[in-house]
């Protein structure tokens, strides 16, 4: 749909480093590289900073081998490479909230070896978020991060400042949900590529600006004409994915990606905070309650039912696992999640992703999957 409605998101995505530099020049604020979407962005926003999620560049690199193993997932290696190559030289700080151990080591290498980093902070979020003790522990971790930022900036982060930042983030989450709702329609007015542009840019664009853009798009969507066939309705499942070329290929061969369970998509924004007089608790528990990453989904596997519910709500016909090579948490979930979906009538396809991906061979697999869904005319 070439009406230019999502062009701003696309431009932000493609020129994200230029945006961050311009933001810094305009506001004089600090930019903070955030690793993992469990980072409590509310605190950084309240402190007048711009959280910018570290993403890969999907290009071959040869700089990470001295620091982390080649059998760490491509996202770890690509993320670290971006730091080592100076792509985030505008970021004063870097922060990680605990998720997987490989990314923790990528973060450690980043903070030690990226010379432009002036400060770093590790939020020791418990992985066992299902325990009530963990919720208290995480509140304490978020509070400790608050204290760190106050010391760093020499300015108090009041509860009101945190509430304002939380409100901005929650509005962003609500607007993205509203945008994603349009994908439930039989003829979705938003494609998978467009949805990806919208959700991924929320992770590095000033939230207030992003919210204004989302409102503009949402105002225009009811009148938007769908000019492409929907085809088969696909869901994507996995960790981080911003491989636009892959998504565009899928949507060019007779499918539409209508929903995802990925941290570049729904897992980032799906739930808003719950009202609480204790704003630090509200912020912390929002992260405990969000759709879980496999690293934080035990002893109960809550994401299995969540993924199936999403598939049903968005009338998904097939799910594609975008498995980052060597990503142990997701690969560990894969066999059971695959069985769960297939037992409930959702066929699946497994694709192994690397820093760069072979679009041609992936296309054969996607087209073959489409044929299994719709080849009745051939028999």
């Amino acid at each position: 749909m070439n009406d230019g409605l999502f062009d701003q998101f696309k431009e932000w995505y493609e020129k994200r480093h230029d945006y961050a530099r311009a933001w810094k020049a305009r506001t004089g604020g600090q930019v903070v590289a955030t690793m993992c979407t469990y980072s409590p962005e509310e605190l950084l926003i309240a402190a007048g900073m711009l959280p910018v999620r570290v993403l890969g560049a999907h290009e071959p690199q040869n700089v990470t081998e001295p620091h982390i193993f080649g059998m760490f997932c491509p996202f770890c290696r690509d993320s670290l490479a971006q730091g080592l190559l100076g792509r985030f030289d505008y970021a004063e700080g870097v922060t990680l909230t605990q998720s997987c151990i490989q990314y923790r080591q990528a973060y450690s290498s980043w903070r030690q070896n990226v010379p432009t980093v002036k400060w770093d902070y590790y939020v020791a979020m418990p992985n066992d978020v299902q325990s009530p003790h963990s919720r208290k522990a995480h509140r304490a971790e978020v509070q400790a991060f608050r204290v760190f930022l106050q010391t760093l900036t020499g300015k108090e982060l009041t509860d009101d400042m945190l509430r304002d930042a939380l409100a901005v983030c929650d509005e962003n989450r609500r607007l993205l949900r509203e945008l994603f709702d349009y994908r439930k329609a039989d003829e979705p007015r938003v494609t998978g590529v467009e949805a990806l542009y919208a959700s991924i840019t929320a992770q590095f664009i000033d939230k207030r600006e992003h919210n204004e853009m989302l409102k503009k798009v949402l105002a225009a969507l009811p009148a938007r004409k769908v000019t492409r066939p929907t085809g088969a309705r696909f869901m994507t499942i996995g960790s981080e994915n911003d491989d636009v070329a892959f998504m565009a290929m899928v949507e060019s061969v007779g499918a539409t990606i209508v929903i995802d369970d990925q941290c570049s998509g729904t897992r980032y924004f799906w739930n808003a905070s719950k009202a609480d007089d204790d704003v630090v608790k509200a912020i912390a528990e929002r992260y405990c309650d969000r759709p879980a990453c496999p690293t934080k989904d035990y002893p109960s596997h809550t994401r299995f039912q969540h993924v199936l519910d999403l598939a049903k709500e968005y009338k998904v016909q097939a799910a594609v696992f975008l498995q980052q090579k060597f990503c142990d948490p997701h690969e560990g979930d894969y066999p059971d999640l695959k069985r769960h979906l297939e037992a409930n009538g959702i066929p699946t396809l497994f694709l192994e992703f690397d820093i760069t991906n072979p679009i041609g061979p992936f296309r054969i697999r996607i087209e073959a999957m489409l044929e299994t869904l719709s080849e009745e005319e051939l028999f």
Partner: protein
């Protein structure tokens, strides 16, 4: 037994340039029939990474085919493959009612009405060649390897492909053939001419296998033993792919490697299942499936009026 023969005569030392890897290109048609009697003529063109096939189906039955090496570009390969059979039987392109492209070059078949993946086409072709009891298909092509499950109609229900690496595929066998200076068609039979079955080579990477094969020869392996070790390694690799998807009875092998008993018998031994036999050239399965799909589409189109 050929123990000890030909040692030290490696490809690099051969003054005469022979293409040992070159497999038999072939053309066949059913001389008992006349295509002019057919009501519906459909064609499947499979442009693969190594070989290209054109198959003609007359009223839903295999009539003829041409199988040849893929050239430098897909459109020309498709044209040449089809010309190879049409010229023999005096057919023209306009005599064909429907053409379907498949294989890597499927979208570059200039005269195709539709493109269908080789996964669907191999399953349909195997269903025709091996009968409706075929449930598991192993397609061992030029540069990839696919494990496919299908139903009684030949409709794909599940599939897996090898990733990124061409090990365990036809191209690897071509490389070994050239290296050993043994015609590719002889590799399979000669792999059984050994005193005892060797361990599989540890690397079946098309590139690294060369150096490993050379090392084995230097260590005293006969050529036949090296070939046996390579066939075993290929068999183990494809069996690991098959085991990921599961093997059901009604096991059928398509693609050029199906003609190599050295690999096929070792796969059968590892799986404990015998592959379904066929008299039809296993290399044409994809193009045959495409032509059969074309026939069904034409029938449905006619039924709609």
């Amino acid at each position: 037994m050929n123990a000890g023969i030909d040692q030290g005569t490696l490809a690099t030392a051969a003054p005469e340039k022979k293409e040992f890897w070159r497999w038999q290109e072939n053309t066949w048609y059913d001389e008992t029939k006349n295509w002019k009697d057919a009501k519906i003529i459909t064609c499947g063109i499979d442009v693969g990474s190594v070989s290209s096939q054109a198959v003609l189906v007359c009223d839903g039955e295999l009539y003829g085919y041409n199988s040849m090496r893929t050239g430098s570009n897909s459109p020309d390969s498709a044209k040449n493959a089809l010309a190879g059979i049409m010229d023999k039987i005096g057919m023209k392109l306009e005599d064909i009612h429907h053409v379907i492209g498949t294989g890597y070059g499927r979208v570059n078949v200039p005269f195709a009405h539709k493109a269908i993946t080789e996964i669907a086409c191999h399953a349909r072709g195997a269903n025709y060649m091996g009968g409706n009891k075929v449930r598991t298909i192993l397609d061992m092509g030029g540069q990839d390897c696919k494990a496919i499950h299908c139903d009684e109609k030949g409709k794909v229900t599940n599939f897996l492909m090898n990733d990124k690496c061409a090990a365990g595929t036809g191209r690897g066998m071509e490389v070994i053939s050239d290296l050993m200076q043994i015609p590719i068609a002889e590799l399979g039979p000669r792999s059984f001419e050994v005193d005892e079955e060797p361990e599989a080579v540890s690397s079946i990477c098309v590139v690294f296998a060369k150096s490993e094969a050379l090392a084995l020869l230097k260590a005293g392996y006969t050529k036949n033993k090296v070939i046996a070790a390579y066939c075993q390694a290929m068999a183990e690799r494809v069996v690991s792919l098959l085991e990921r998807i599961g093997v059901e009875e009604g096991f059928f092998i398509t693609g050029g490697i199906a003609k190599n008993p050295g690999v096929v018998k070792r796969i059968e031994k590892l799986l404990g299942i015998k592959a379904v036999d066929t008299k039809i050239d296993s290399q044409i399965a994809g193009a045959l499936g495409a032509a059969l799909f074309g026939y069904t589409l034409m029938q449905k189109q006619a039924a709609k009026g």
